[in-house]
Assembly symmetry: C2
Homo-oligomer: 336 residues x 2
C-alpha cells in the first residue's frame, strides 16, 4: 500500500513533476488553469508531500525543538503548550525532548537533538548552561533561546537569546515586603543546588532583603526541598522544630509554600496569624488556595509569547539575538 507521490500526481495530471512541485509550493509561474487542475487531482488522491524528502532536499526542516530538563515542572509544561500553539500557527512543528539525566551536559543533548533532527531552532526551558562555550552554540548554527534558564556569564550574548525574569530581584521584593510588614524572623525553604540556579538566585534575593533590613543570617532558618509538596512539607516540619520562633516563611515556589502550609496547620498554627507564608510563581492554584497565597507572579503568558515570537523573528531573520527580562509582580493576598 504505497502512498501516492508527486510523480503519480504528475502522471495523472499529465504534467511534469516540476509543475506539481510548483503548485504545492505556491510558486507564481503556473497557469491558473493548470494549477486548478493539479489541485483537484491532489485533492482527489489525497496527496500529502513527503516531509522527509522535502527536508532532505532543502536540507532543513520546519521543526523547532523544545528541551526541558529535570524534574517535572507544571509551569514548563504549560509554557511549552503555549509556545507550541503560537509556533504551529505559522507552520512550525515542535519536537519535544525531556531529559532527566543530570549527568549529561545540557549542551550536548542540545547539539545532538538539533543535528539529528535538523531543527531550525531550539528553545530550552529551564536547565543550566554553566559551562557552555560560545563556539559550541555557534557551531549549532540555529537560533537558541534560553527561557527561564540560568545563563553563563561568559557566554557571548550575541550568539543566543534569552527570556526570563530576575529571580534575585523578585525574591528580594517579596521578602522585603515581609520585612516591611514587621517580620524579623523569616525562614526560607529553598533548593539544595549551587548558587547559579534558580533556587540559588532566589535565596540570594532573600538574603539581600534581610541584610538590607539589618537582619543577620541564621542557619536554623534555612531548609531545602526539591520543588515538591512533600519535600516542602517535610522541610517545614524540620524548620518548625529548629526555629520555633519563626514568624514568616518564604518558599521559593508556590508548590513548596503549599506543602509547607500543611506542616504549619498540622502543629495547630494558623496562617497568617502565627506564621506568614509567601510563595513564588503564582501558579493558577495560588489564588484559589485557601487562604489565597501571597506570591510573586511570573508572567507565564508573556514569557511564552515572547519566546515564541522571538523565535519566529529569529527564524525569519527579522531580529538579532535579544535578552529580555520580564517584570514580575507582587501578589499580596491573604497568607501574609
Amino acid at each position: 500500500m504505497k502512498a501516492v507521490n508527486i510523480k503519480d500526481i504528475a502522471r495523472i495530471a499529465g504534467v511534469g513533476v516540476a509543475t506539481v512541485s510548483r503548485v504545492i509550493n505556491h510558486h507564481p509561474d503556473v497557469k491558473e488553469e493548470t494549477r486548478q487542475h493539479i489541485l483537484q487531482i491532489i485533492e482527489e488522491y489525497k496527496y500529502i508531500p513527503n516531509n522527509s524528502a522535502r527536508y532532505l532536499k532543502r536540507s532543513e526542516s520546519n521543526d523547532v525543538g523544545i528541551i526541558i530538563k529535570g524534574i517535572y515542572n507544571p509551569l514548563f509544561a504549560e509554557m511549552m503548550q503555549k509556545i507550541e500553539r503560537i509556533l504551529s500557527q505559522v507552520g512550525y512543528t515542535v519536537m519535544l525532548h525531556h531529559h532527566m539525566d543530570m549527568a549529561i551536559r545540557d549542551m550536548d543533548v542540545a547539539q545532538e537533538f538539533v543535528k539529528e533532527k535538523r531543527l531550525k531552532g531550539l528553545i530550552c526551558l529551564g536547565g543550566d548552561f554553566e559551562d557552555v562555550q560560545t563556539e559550541e552554540v555557534k557551531r549549532m548554527n540555529v537560533p537558541m533561546i534560553l527561557t527561564s534558564a540560568l545563563q553563563n556569564e561568559a557566554l557571548d550574548r550575541k550568539v543566543y537569546s534569552s527570556v526570563g525574569i530576575n529571580n534575585e530581584v523578585a525574591a528580594f521584593e517579596i521578602v522585603n515586603y515581609l520585612c516591611m510588614t514587621g517580620h524579623q524572623k523569616i525562614g526560607i525553604i529553598t533548593t539544595g543546588e549551587h548558587d547559579q540556579s534558580i533556587g540559588g538566585r532566589r535565596t540570594q534575593g532573600y538574603m539581600r532583603a534581610l541584610s538590607t533590613h539589618g537582619i543577620a543570617k541564621v542557619d536554623e532558618r534555612f531548609e531545602v526541598g526539591d520543588y515538591t509538596f512533600e519535600s516542602a512539607y517535610l522541610a517545614m516540619k524540620r524548620l518548625l522544630v529548629k526555629a520555633p520562633d519563626l514568624t514568616a516563611v518564604f518558599a521559593i515556589s508556590d508548590i513548596m509554600a503549599i506543602g509547607a502550609a500543611r506542616a504549619i496547620h498540622e502543629v495547630g498554627k494558623s496562617i497568617p496569624k502565627d506564621i506568614a507564608l509567601a510563595g513564588f510563581d503564582d501558579i493558577d492554584y495560588a489564588a484559589y488556595y485557601d487562604p489565597p497565597l501571597t506570591t510573586v507572579k511570573q508572567p507565564l503568558e508573556t514569557l511564552s509569547e515572547t519566546t515564541a515570537e522571538l523565535m519566529i523573528a529569529l527564524l525569519e531573520d527579522r531580529s538579532e539575538h535579544e535578552h529580555v527580562m520580564l517584570p514580575t509582580t507582587l501578589k499580596i493576598r491573604k497568607t501574609t
Copy 2:
C-alpha cells in the same frame, strides 16, 4: 558551512559509504578493525546521520505523534511528558500537536499529522472521535491509541487501542458515597458538552447514583463550567442562589471543585460542615488543599505508562490492539 556527511566519512576513512552505513546501523558484517577506525573518524568529525535522508530511504520515521485537543489541561500536559520520557528511552521522538480548533474533525488533523510527518504511531490525549470511520483509521496505517478519549461505539475495536477509565462508574461511586453519608440534596458542576463527552459520562454517573438512592433529578442543582477555576467559582455562586438548600456538591474536576470552594467560603459557609464537596481527578493539589479534597483518583502514572508501553509493543508488532480500562480509586479526605 556544510555539515559532514556519510560520503565525507567514507572518503576520509578510505572505505565505501556502504561500510560506513553498516557501522552506524550496527550491521555485523564489518571487520572489527575497520569498525573501530570508522567509529573514530565519526567521533572526530562529529558526524551525525541526516535523519531526513534515513527516513526518506526507509520510508518511515522514528517519530510518534501526540495530539492534544482543546483547552489547556494540566493533566494532559503531565501525561504527555511521562509518555515522552518512556518513548524516548527506546529511541522514539515525540512530536506534539495541540489544536484548539473545535470545528475541525479530530480525525482529519490526525490523518494529516501522520502522513505529513510520516509518523510511526499516534497517541490522542482526550478529544472525541464520534464520527470516525473504521476505514479512516485503517487507512492511516499506523497504530493509534486513544488515551482518556471518548470512543465511538461504531468504531471497530480491532483497529485502534484505547486506555482510559470508566468515567460513569467513577462518578457513580463518588456520588454514591455522598448519598451513603446521608446527603440528599447534591448539586453538580459539570460541563456543557453533549452526552458523549467526559463531562457527559460523569454526569450520567451522578444521575445513576441519585436514582439508585431514589432521589429525583432537580434542574436547579445543575450548573456548568469549562474546567477552569473561574468558571466553577461563578457556577457555584449561581448554584448557591438557585439551590440554597444544597448539602453537597460534586464538581467533575478538582480544579472546578477548588473554584467552587472559593464561592462557598465567600458566603460564609464552611466545608464540609455546611456543604460537602467532591472533585474528580486527584490532581497533586487535591491532597494539599486545605481542607484536603475528597476526590476520585485517575491513575495518571499508570495511564501514561500503559499508553507508552502499549505503543511500543504495537510498534514492535508484539501486540494486537487492546482496550484497557484502568481502575479509579476513591480518595476520601476532609471535604466530605
